[in-house]
């Protein structure tokens, strides 16, 4: 049991922290930011900075130019990156690319790696992950998948509608989940400019931190050659789990950084602004909120680190990653909400970065499995360990 960081990791942490403070944060007022995320030109400029700093795609495989970080190292570095809404964009570690890179690294063929994964790791292209569907399709229950892939010669022909597809606009690559004629879910790789893929519309969203925003995609007779099947046929849901457990943990890492930023902003204000005869933070009501923030941030970090350690042991960590997802997403939400409250008018306006974090972070309690789904899966696992259903039925 040891909570220390290796000197190498500390150095990388410090380097990332400086990069965010000195290079990225100055871009936060850049006008090339839109309600649907940073413009591609801004994204490219930031990525170039990270590349120059040696901080691009640090989770990517080494042979493609990444730093091959362990889950624990990611926990430390991604938290630093998340300190600015533009940090994960700059370092190419934001959803959905971060998870897609992880997935492709795990299951793509050598040829697929070269064609699809390399440009992602190098930051020269972006990707999207097309799984979620409008009602009555696959939402928090992925088994309700309605998009179909029908074999036709050497190709599969895909029909369906996807929505909440993050980063689709501007992406070069899509990973698409569809079910075969026998109902088995399967993943397919496709260029986004292929005929048969159409961005129907970009959705208005509370967050504005993902390049490309969130879109509705129509898949209308999209042809995918069999060589672009990702992994094995019928293994789509299993791969989704391969992608999701670590992917939701990297959300924990990044959003922890964002929450720390909100807290630091509120703390600086509370240490300076006076009201009713003393500094804001010297009012116990405010001081208690700051203390609760500190405790929530600490707990969120420990939970994330622990799950990262579990994953680094080679375990799948489904239980731990579910618990971290719930605990961290709710803790960081409380932190940001309290920070808004402490800042008062400056928390609900563009006077500070905190309003932006507040809007960006809310959906984290929903995506990658809402709190309710994870609580339920944690509960089922507890019950299963306590007593098999058969016994209980007696």
């Amino acid at each position: 049991m040891d909570f220390s960081l290796s000197p190498e990791l500390q150095a990388l942490q410090e380097k990332t922290r400086r990069f965010i403070a000195e290079v990225v944060i100055p871009y936060e007022d850049d006008p090339r930011q839109t309600p649907h995320g940073p413009a591609e030109a801004l994204r490219d400029e930031l990525v170039a900075h990270a590349r120059a700093a040696g901080l691009l795609t640090p989770h990517g495989p080494r042979e493609l130019g990444g730093l091959g970080l362990s889950h624990r190292a990611k926990a430390v570095v991604f938290e630093e990156a998340g300190y600015s809404p533009l940090g994960p964009v700059a370092m190419n570690i934001h959803a959905p690319d971060e998870g897609n890179i992880h997935l492709l690294d795990a299951i793509a063929t050598p040829a697929q790696r070269e064609r699809w994964l390399r440009p992602l790791v190098e930051g020269h292209a972006r990707s999207c992950f097309a799984m979620t569907e409008p009602a009555p399709g696959a939402g928090s229950d992925p088994t309700m998948l309605t998009t179909t892939a029908t074999r036709d010669g050497d190709d599969y022909v895909i029909h369906g509608t996807k929505w909440f597809i993050t980063g689709a606009v501007g992406a070069r690559v899509a990973i698409i989940m569809a079910k075969l004629e026998d109902g088995a879910a399967t993943m397919f790789l496709s260029d986004m400019d292929a005929p048969g893929i159409r961005v129907e519309r970009t959705m208005d969203a509370l967050d504005a931190c993902f390049t490309g925003g969130h879109s509705v995609l129509r898949l209308e007779g999209l042809r995918v050659p069999a060589e672009n099947v990702l992994g094995a046929l019928g293994e789509g849901f299993r791969y989704a789990q391969v992608r999701l457990a670590p992917a939701r943990l990297t959300h924990c890492m990044r959003w922890l950084g964002a929450a720390r930023r909100a807290h630091d902003t509120a703390l600086a204000y509370a240490a300076r602004r006076r009201a009713f005869g003393k500094r804001l933070g010297e009012h116990e009501g405010v001081g208690f909120m700051l203390a609760d923030n500190a405790m929530d941030l600490h707990a969120a970090r420990l939970s994330t680190w622990h799950t990262a350690w579990v994953l680094d042991q080679g375990q799948r960590g489904k239980h731990e990653s579910s618990m971290s997802k719930v605990a961290v997403s709710e803790a960081v939400w409380r932190v940001v909400d309290r920070s808004v409250q402490i800042l008062g008018g400056q928390g609900v306006t563009g006077e500070t970065i905190v309003m932006r974090i507040f809007k960006d972070i809310r959906a984290f309690r929903i995506y990658d499995g809402p709190s309710e789904v994870h609580r339920w899966s944690v509960a089922r696992r507890l019950l299963r360990r306590a007593a098999p259903p058969e016994e209980g039925a007696s």
Copy 2:
């Protein structure tokens, strides 16, 4: 003890409900809505509808064309109006006009009534209330007022900076709080197009429901003739309380309607959308959130009604309105946050009205006294009743 509504009030409730449903809600997608609130043209069009329906400025004094509603009647009617973000705009009962009308009705001279109040009640003009200042000025602690009013002949000359001034852009009238040379806070009336008032900038804000948004105002040598002093010299803070206790209660009323809308939207979705083999709402985790919503809405309504009754008895109701402000602002926030959670992706995007309510309602826990200030004033009152400070000091 009687919780029934009179037949007249029921009829007015029903009429308002129909007006909102049939006339106002169809405007919710109107493109004349901006991040800084509905455009003036849209506002005027909605006001004209309310005027035609006999529902304009229902809290205004009868002799100026209002309906002269009691606080209890307002509780019922304003909740209905709040069911759409555009309802209070249409009926001319939104902040800050609602409170300004109340204040002018209470303390304006007959000549001031005619010149400043009449056009507000008739919906032909809008107003703003210029009290809050940037650090180190008056924020949640109004006694830190820095704006000055200096007597110069028959005029007062005002200098200062105000911010978070809602509705300033497009307003005809400003009520300005400034301190005299002896430090006594005083209210002044001014045309907004007077020389010496300048809108420095409009602030980016989380909410987008107030016509004119929120602005920073520079008062640079603004001349106000002595006849435009509102009420007595040096009574500014007392009048602010005259305005605030009922004003914060009308916020409770309107936002209760908004929260009910969010809940109804989430409930309709939970009753229809299926996941994991049944309707969303049939999952206890979701059902419990719906039940908590129902309980929070109920408690918020009862608290608001009770304080309205206290005010109708002619009491100042400071204790009760503080308790309602905290209890209602936090209850409606929980309701809207849960509604977002139930709706999932549709709660954090423009797919439903709920994202908009979520953004609009957050600041209610801050303005008109943040929860912390009200908790503190409730506590001090409890302590004072329990034991005078002198005793405790022994």
Copy 3:
């Protein structure tokens, strides 16, 4: 809409308040109190005081000597009674007698009234309500009833085990729920000293406020003549609801009084005890807890009053009484827990009455339907109103 109390009710409130303060509270240190509730002799002495004061069984029917209070009047009077743990005992309005009197008043035959109800109203006898069973029998799900009643000539013969039977030791009367051979639940009246009823043991319990404590009852061939069937055969569950909706509301009333006592005790302490340079209550952290107490008590009272009003309109009020049960039981719990925290060491020891209230009140979140069951029934009702299951199934 009117929150005022009639002069008569105010007078009764004041009278009750004085009775509790002057007559009942002095008994709180009486040594005739045991972990299983006040001894019968103490109970009798207290009842005699209430009888003398004209405050005995105020909810009982007038023709049997009660005051025939409306639900709203009960809300006011029972809150006062609950201010002392011994108040409801003295005034004969505690569970289970309070509910049993209500039930018998509603459905007993004239002969049954005379024999069973009269002595209860007069305070000369106590009763118990034998419904709950150990696993796998009827707990929070009453339909799992396992106790059987078999017709045998003019009698029914009852077998089964009941537990958590409050007040059984010392009771003269039992109301027993059992199922007939066709499975239909039915209620039976029995003398407690009848052969075939045996108190197996008294259970150790967290609370100590109910005369007779809580027991396990064995029903072993208990013979009940047909004339002692209470109401119609097979209507047992319906009658349980007749009893429960108002009974759980009277719990709300009494426990509200208890929570007010805890709060008053904590407030008095916080107004007097000094730490870190000022009175405890002047520390915002403590002041906020006091303010939250005030808001919770207020909300609990309004919810209780509202449901009482609904019941007084002749409605069954299932929805409202479920909501009040959850909201009030959780609010008063928070109040008492905060009061303990404010009192520190004096909250977790017999130095104040608050430790006792803390122990007595916890089970209220469980009995008469735990929060979870009520939340679920509120949710189902909401869903049913929003959309019939059939529609949702499409």
Copy 4:
């Protein structure tokens, strides 16, 4: 960063777990348990078992027979011990002896070690820590100390009243905090049977897990020879911190075990008991509580481990131990409260161990610094780091 336990520590964990399960838990129904804790005879019997098992005083110094465990090892072992209310008694690691042993080990002279510390480590004697006083003395604010120590020849003569003194009845040794004539707080060692120490009364308490209960002590002319001053004169408050930071962490460890026991009990019940057509735990409302329990236990453990690691680095860990105290005491409380709720009637009666844990654990949010005091000290530290008071004053 590594969350694994060494093989030795795993073995000790497993050994402790078995000892508790096989030896200690069977004593939980032993009749020699009183409202003021286990009787001395029972305590001695349990201690003999631990001695035989090699598990007695595992935190004690090796040269006196302890195992000299690190803070991290204690975190693991004490959690196991806490799984039974009698575990810490058996292993001689309960408050106040655990902390007193730690304190004496840190600052006693060699002669004092031999005389006072050795019998404590060997389990042949018990001790108490006499610091807290009734109003207006030292409560959560230790600086309000009123007990005096006056030099008289080679002795100090002590006068004062102490209360909430845990374990005083039956203790051989007292550590007494008093202030010298110059006001400097100092610690003194005394035999409990010295003339001048009188147990005025034993207090009724919510908890019943500490041998000897909690008492009021009168110190009336108690003579303490100068050689029995503990450490340096005037360093009393500093030593209290030496004692408290680790002592409150060991509370976290033990109560974490107790909360795990409550959770396991509730889980077993929820996995077996059926209601409304399925196992209790299969109801999402119950399942969510189980999941929240699992997350709270996990977070509490990680927080405790982390602070233990900080202490093992030789740091004082005031910030971390304050955060752990608040976070763990509140988390375990939620766990136990939820477990009560899941168990329903069996949670509020002696049918399960959980009622006992519920009563025992409540005061943990109060002693060793209530949550409010720790939140405040965390806040002050945050503010100090963010900006020195001087800057804020500008």
